[in-house]
Subunit: 427 residues, 2 copies
């Protein structure tokens, strides 16, 4: 297949290319691959990096926390103090503004929504009693965030993003004019799926918001804050510092976890917000559970020791992940770039590459890949209600497959992108 | 103090006894004790029994489940199959009807309520849309159950219990006549706080219920099913068998955990219900979290191997706990029984003794104990809305203190019971 822009080619050349690409696709299908790139899962070699965690808290280690609590027994709802210190250091937060939870930050986000929905927060009526509750959803974004707000019948409003973050003029307009707008989903560092890092200006604009609703909250999901793919990562302004400076400290909930630092599903999740918010949320959280797994909190603290050692651990992840991202980016550069039909992000961290296919082809590409043996994240998943109005965005998750499999999968992906584009151009 | 029934004594004798008891109380207060018997917490010597769990899943153990899933990664929402087998064996349930969760059965109960409240179950309207939702609450019962239903604005109806369980005529009448009645809290084995075991007849009556509401569920909290204090425990009919026989398999959710088998807060919780119910609940649970901690599930399975070994482990707990229960019961028998003013349960398992003080004195006794240096579960806590209409029931939790401390605490408790009774009789 010739590598020049498709729109510079005549009908005959396009027809020939279509046939050529179909043949390549058929040949691929005959290989009967079965690869899954649907989710942002760490690969086994990453999980192996954390195996020593299993021995970090042996039976004779002593299970008493710094504050004198027996981590083997009930109590200490908000988590052990040494875990608060560790996560506070990672986030640039104050330890007394940390809540250490269980194995899932998603579960904590759900809890924050559920408390506002069932009981109400900040003196405002419970969302269940309101005719309409709305949430701002920067797009493309994370499907599991959208599933949470959808669960609570929240109307989701897509907000476009660029390389600096969400369109803050639009965010400001919605948040400050409409009291039904109760929050926004954000992944400020290496956003899912674009990989962008919110600019300091964006973070300051968030901190300066004066929402119409007193119970408006920024759900600041800092899932990838230490998940760098470059040696000299950006040092973005923290939401903590920005909100401290603007005096707007109740406006955000910040979430973090070790799901992609240690073990997904067996890590430690935490959130961070003002003492006022923590006190209010804790009243409800303390009804829902007697407490979270302090043994696993202690195991993580003993394993890492401090935030610097956790950051050093992430260097090992980077060594595994960087080549995988390079495979994807190199293949796209080589196979797709010359055709002038698509764009994609080149992230400096996180778990995803966001690919913008020719409008109207994303579903077709995902379908072709599936029938060719590679499962991708569903087209549309990066939009609220799975509705990508352009049918263009596809989230590429390069982390789980082995490099060799990833090369194969990307080979197929590129063929499918071309095929879908050519089908569209020649129909 | 003479040990004959108080109601057989004259005014002068009672006045003398009052003074004598006051003196004893003052002497106790001078000791400046500080003991806590408020919660059903295992003592440190029990937690030590489980320390080898910490070494049960070392780094080189292999983390792949029987079904081939890597327990270190995302996925397997309903838990690993070997954990399902283990808990199914404990409960007399089918493995395919088990859901293995996180560290807290209370959290699973909350989730089951929340799903019915927010989304609705069994094709019925979500509870949030109803004018009134009611729950039956056998009393005395567990304060944390009542806190869950109160959280969702559920009206709680107390149901008296006797040595066979709740008053089933009353349960049947409410459940079968009022579609607003959506469920009942049950602790069928060694109930919290009475320690009674529901009779087979009671279990059959539950299984035979034909509730007016299709979304009526029995919340069968089998927290103490293997927590025996006697060598030859009763073998109660399981809810599974009874409901299988009655064909009423969707009517119950059964909960269990290792909170008081291994570590409270770092154990494994599970629930059991029909495949139909599991499928429905899983849809919502799968939105709230990506999954629970499978590493801890695997650690528990490797530690115990099978249900018999878990039962054998409980024998060690019994050896620690039996003497503590004996201290309480002996002291009550010796100090209170002769006075003819109170009654209490003599449980064959579980974590509590339920004490019925003279009507109108429970709050006073708890207050006296507190001022004397011993914190008890709040009077009234065993009733919905903390409202014990007789102000009589006190939950005694003997498990946490050391035997010596427990003796002291019970000495004070008996003094306070006498003092409160004498205050009442002489006023």
């Amino acid at each position: 297949m010739e590598k020049k822009p498709l729109n510079a080619q005549g009908a005959e050349a396009l027809a020939a290319l279509l046939q050529q690409t179909k043949d390549a696709y058929d040949a691929f299908q005959a290989k009967k691959l079965s690869l899954n790139m649907a989710r942002g899962k760490p690969g086994p070699e990453q999980l192996d990096l954390t195996l020593p965690l299993m021995d970090a808290l042996p039976a004779d280690a002593g299970m008493i926390s710094e504050s004198g609590d027996d981590c083997r027994n009930y109590g200490v709802l908000s988590g052990i103090s040494e875990a608060k210190k560790l996560f506070a250091d990672i986030l640039g937060a104050k330890p007394e503004e940390m809540f250490i939870g269980g194995n899932s930050s998603l579960e904590l986000m759900f809890a924050c929504l559920q408390i506002a929905y069932v009981k109400g927060i900040a003196g405002c009526p419970a969302w269940k009693t309101l005719d309409k509750v709305k949430f701002l959803c920067p797009v493309p974004g994370y499907d599991r965030h959208f599933a949470l707000t959808e669960y609570f019948d929240v109307e989701m409003i897509p907000v476009p993003t660029d390389e600096n973050g969400p369109d803050m003029a639009m965010v400001k307009k919605y948040a400050e004019s409409d009291p039904a707008v109760k929050g926004i989903w954000c992944v400020p560092v290496y956003a899912n799926p674009t990989g962008i890092v919110y600019s300091d200006e964006t973070v300051r604009a968030f901190a300066a918001l004066k929402p119409a609703a007193k119970d408006f909250r920024i759900f600041w999901d800092n899932a990838y804050c230490i998940h760098h793919l470059v040696a000299e990562p950006k040092k973005p302004l923290t939401i903590n510092q920005a909100c401290e400076e603007s005096g707007n400290t109740d406006i955000f909930y910040q979430f973090v976890s070790t799901s992609k630092v240690t073990f997904p599903g067996a890590g430690v999740a935490a959130f961070n917000t003002s003492k006022t918010n923590l006190d209010e949320l804790s009243k409800s959280l303390g009804i829902q559970t007697i407490g979270f797994d302090k043994i696993n909190q202690l195991r993580h603290v003993r394993f890492f020791g401090n935030a610097d050692k956790m950051r050093a651990h992430m260097e090992k992840h980077r060594a595994v992940l960087k080549p995988k991202f390079d495979i994807v980016l190199d293949m796209l550069e080589q196979e797709i770039a010359p055709l002038g039909i698509a764009s994609w992000t080149k992230p400096e961290g996180g778990y995803f590459i966001s690919f913008n296919a020719p409008k109207g082809t994303a579903k077709r590409i995902v379908q072709l890949c599936k029938e060719g043996g590679v499962t991708l994240t569903g087209a549309g998943a990066t939009y609220p209600y799975k509705n990508d109005p352009d049918d263009s965005n596809i989230r590429i998750a390069p982390t789980y497959p082995k490099c060799e499999e990833l090369s194969q999968a990307m080979e197929l992906f590129c063929i499918c992108v071309k095929l879908a584009a050519l089908e569209q151009l020649t129909k």
